[in-house]
Structure formats: C-alpha cells, structure tokens
Amino acid sequence: MIEFRIDRRSGVAAYLQLVQQTRQALRLGLLKPGDRLPTAKEVVAATAMNPNTVLKAYRELERDGLVEARRGLGTFVRQSLARPEAASDGQLRAELTAWMDRALSGALEHEDVEALFKAVLQEHDLRTPEGT
Amino acid sequence: MTWLAWRQQRLQILISIGLVLLTTAALVYLRFDAASLLPNQAAVRERYQGLVFNMPLFLLALPVLLGMFAGAPLFAREIEQGTLVFGLTQSISRTRWWATKLAVAGLPVAVAVTALGLVGSWALEPVNFLLSSRMSTPLFEIQGTTIGAYTVLAFAIGATAGLLVRSTLAGMAITLVTYLGVLVVVADVLRPHYQAPLYVAERFRPGPLNLPSDAWLVGHGYLDAAGNEISVSRINCQGDIATCFADQGVVQRFSQFHPGDRFWPFQLAESGLVLLLVGGLLALGAWALRRRLS
C-alpha cells in the first residue's frame, strides 16, 4: 500500500501533494487497478494531516477517473498510468539512463542536469501546448 | 458525582471525623470516671478542675477549625488549581456540582459534631457543678445541638468565602473573623432575648444573689423606694456596704435570669437561628456560582 509524505515547505497545497504522489505511484506501477488506497483515517493516523485534505485529494482522483470509492469498502484504483516504456526494463528508460550516465560523467553537475532536463521539457511543452 | 466529591475530599473528611470521634471518646471517659468519683465532689474537683477549664475553649475552636480546613478549600482550591473549569464543562449542572460537593464534604462532619454535642451534654453532667451556667458562653455553644449548627455555619462561611474570594487562604481568614463575630453577636446581643428573662426583686441586703445554681443571670440592679432603677457607686463606700447603699437610696435589688430548664429550648432556638444564617450564606454562594464564576 502507498504511504504518503507531506512536504510543508514545498509551497504545494497538501491535497495536491497527495494527488501527485498517487499519480506518481500509478505511473511507476506501484499502484495497480484493484488496489485499495489507504483510508482517510489510516493516512491521518500516520501523517497527522487533516482528513478533509485526504478526502479532497481522493475526490480529485475520482473526478479524473483514476480511482473509485466503493461504499463501506474504501477507495480503489480503477486505472493505471503505468507506461511500459517507463517501467524499469523499458527501452526509453534505458536510453535516458545511458544519457544521464554520459552527462554526469562529463562536465555537468547534478543540478545542471536537472536544469537541462527541465528546460528541454519546457521547450517541448511550449511547442505542443496541449500535450502533457 | 458523589464518588468524585468523596474522592476529592476524603482526606479532610476522615481527619475531621477522626478528630471528632477522639474528642467524643474523651468526653465519654470523663463522664464515667467523674461519675465513679461522685458523690465525692472534692475528688472530682481535684482531678478535673484544670481540664474542665480548658476543654470548653478547645470545643469552641473545633467548629471554626473544621470550617476553615474542610470548607474554605472546597471550591477555592479548585479555582486555584484550575480544575473548576474541568468540573463545570462536563454534563452536569453547576448547581448539582456545587450542592453535591457541599453535601459530601459537609454532612458527615455536621452529623459527627452534632453527635459530639449531644454526647457532650450527657458527659458533662457529673462535672457541671464545677462550671458556671451552661447557658452562657462558652458552655452553651459547645454542647447540645448548637455545636453542630456552628460547625455547619463555619463550613458554609468557608465554602462561600472561598468561592467569592477565589483563595483558600483568604477564605480561611474570613471564616475565622466572621465566625468569631457571629459568636459574639449571638451570645451577647441575641441569646438573652430568645425568651423574656424571669424577674425577681427582693429587699436589698449585701451578699450573693439568691438564684438557682444553673440559672443564667442576664441583668441585675437596684431600685429606690419608688421602684425606679438607680445607679449605685460602690467606690465611695467606707465601712458598711448596706448603710452606704441605703444612703444612696437603695431599697431593693432585682435580677433578671433564665432558669436552667430553658437550656434545651434555647439550644433549639439558637441552632435554628444559626441554620437560617447558613441558608443565607448558601444562597449567596449559589448566586455567585451562577452569576460571577469564571
């Protein structure tokens, strides 16, 4: 089961952090269709955050069609976001790993790589505004 | 709530009752020991003169001590320690909370001291001849039903003062001062008037008044030939007092007194009066609880 972590200094609203972490877990295949998400009480008992925040995050995920609430049972994953290419044995991932190795063994620092990656991603977004 | 009030006050209650029981036991012993010496009054006098002189003062202090230590902290300590807020934010009405605490802390002590007073009246019988009239202070207040009533009074003063001034120490001080004030006013101003005193006038002669030994003398004076009261000075008398007084116009002397058989009616009257005062104090406390607290 997924465990949430809230970073208060990130400036991102707590419920959005939950949404992002769930999506991330779906993307990485940590959560699969049929899995149950922790109940609000379980999340709260672990993180001491407000249960309304958890419920708000789950509503958002439900609206996106990623999860569904089953009365009295809990909230379950409906749909995976995992792409085969992103899995640890995927082709694209292997290529990116190879690129990363080259970049870091060369003149670039960790932060340079991060900035470069984001810049390229942003350029790409600008060319195709509706794509995600 | 009864258990809670008991748990909070049990130490004071047990100590108070222990003290009262010890005193009662001592009085019972006194009764049997003194009775066994009678009719030899000299022997009783020799053994108990000192004790009988000091004991009334202790018994007079007992109610106010109990009132100070059981009554004053009852609410004041809860205010001081902040637990008043706990007690008053539960599902129980203020009045019930207040009344239960008063009843649990006050009733056992009141019953014990009343028993002490009744036993005391019986126990003091063999030594009464050593004492002045038992209708005068302090003997009147330390036996019968009054000692119980005065204990309730001191307790009510302590509890209400603690509630009003929100401090145990100040509550104790107020208890002491108020109690002594009430004692003096009741004994000197009120008690002689529970009933009209008997009046006896006789031809003046020097020497002690001719009254029953258990009578309580509340007034005496001198009359001239016309039957008017006159004030007489003894200071300038030289030689024969009778002649000196006669020269000042004294023909008769009179006395006002309450006979000894009025002891129990007076006991009940005074107990009732004190309990009336207690009612007033409790009403004040109930008012403060509703209007002024926290």
Partner: protein, 288 residues
Amino acid sequence: MTEGSAALDAAGLGKRYRRGWGLRDCTFQLPPGRVTALIGPNGAGKSTLMRLASGLIRPTSGTIRVLGQKPGRKGTHRKLAFLAQDKPLYRSFTVQEMLRAGAELNPGWDHDYAARLVAEADVPTNARIGTLSGGQRTRVALAMALGRRPALLLLDEPLADLDPLARKEVMQTLMAEVADMGMTVVLSSHVIADLEDVCDHLLLLAGGRVRLAGDIEDLLGEHRLMIGSRDLELPPHTVVEARTTERQATVLVRTTERVDANGWEEHKPTLEELALAHLRSARKEVAA
C-alpha cells in the same frame, strides 16, 4: 450554509470584562466536520471565545450557538468538549480515578474508548496525575475530552508545552477521530506553523474582533503576495498590507484574479504569510 447547521454560530457576540472588551461584535459560523484554526496574538480573545462556547462565561452582548443551542445552566452542551490551556485534571487522582470521574460526570461517557486512548499513549493507569509529564498529561486530558464523544471539540493551545513527537502523536489521535466520527474541531494557537497541515478553516482574531474567517484554501486563493521594487506603483486592488525595505516592496492584496501587474512578481501566500499580514495590519489600525 443553512441556519442552525453550523457547529458554532456567533452573532454580534461580545464579552466585556472589568478591564475592557475581551471579545466584541463577532459574527461568524464554523461549518461542521471541519478543523478550524483559531489564530490570534495573546489577548486576542481566543480563550474568551472558547469559554463562551462551553458556557463557562456568559456573553455581554449578542449570542453564541453550539450545535444550534445556546449554552445554558445545565452544564456544557453534551456534544461539546472543551480542553483548557492548563489541561486541568485532579492532581491527586490516579489516571484510573480520573477516568472514573469522567464516567460520573457524563451520561454519554465512552469508557472503553477513553481507556484505549490512554493505553495508546503509554500512560500507566495507576500513575498519579501529578507525576505525569506534560505530554502524558495532555494525552490524558485529551482522552477525558474525547471520552465524552463530542461532536465539537474546543482545544485551547493544546500543543503549547509538548515536544515535537508528542505534538505529532496528539495530532494523529485527533485527526483520526475527525476522520472516524466527522467531529468538528477548533484549535487555538498563536503559533501558526503548528496548525498549517491540520486545519482547513480559519478564524483570525485580533483585539477581540474577527479579522478573517473562512475556508483556508478559499482564503489563500483570494490573496496574492506581490513582490517588486518599492518604486513601482501599487497594483489597483484591495491592499491588506504593504511592507517596504530600502529597495523592495512586499504587498498582500485581496483578489480572486491574477494581478498581472508589470514588474511585480506574484505568489500564492502561505497560511502563515496571510495570517501575519492580517494581524500586522490589525495592529496598525489599533495604533492609528
């Protein structure tokens, strides 16, 4: 929100003490099932408000309704629990005896639940209250409050004397209860950071008056924090507070739209920034 559905409803509420008004002209509603941060500097009226709600004191003016009812003389509303700042408990009692006191004073007392909360906090039941640490004492006091099974729980500075671990544990217990029972909670604090994750509703008091009230997400969305050179013209919006250093100006404006003013950098404020800006501007009003 419809009339009467609020967990706490104040209308023109005021309380005057001998030294002056402790709370004045307060009108607000706290929705049920929410966790409200009651924020304000010392003396802002936070404790006064809680004491009014629990019926310990009576309003001088206006009304307060707890779950639809005015506090009366029959004790505190059965579904309201109040935990005062000094966590009052009978010092000479054992924890066990304290729980029994709770049962004696409350017809709806849930003994198993209160005992479980105490056990979860690792507080020995035969220990005397007077010997407990600050954290244990708070846990017992919280168990005493929750044992009443309240629908509305008022906590006055509950975290003030707790270490970070105890803070987290107390909050976990509380939030689990909110999740489970849909309980409404009001937490007061003058340390805003304590409440940032936990609360979703805000009631900001200063000088005995309500300065800001509402859903925290909404309030944050209605404000923009603008940072720019101090020579720039202020954006044409309601300015809550403007502060300037030698070169820079920081301005909190109230608006639902993007400001998009030239030269200004625009941020979404944090709860702390929002609250502090309102409190500072309240203080300036009073001083002026």
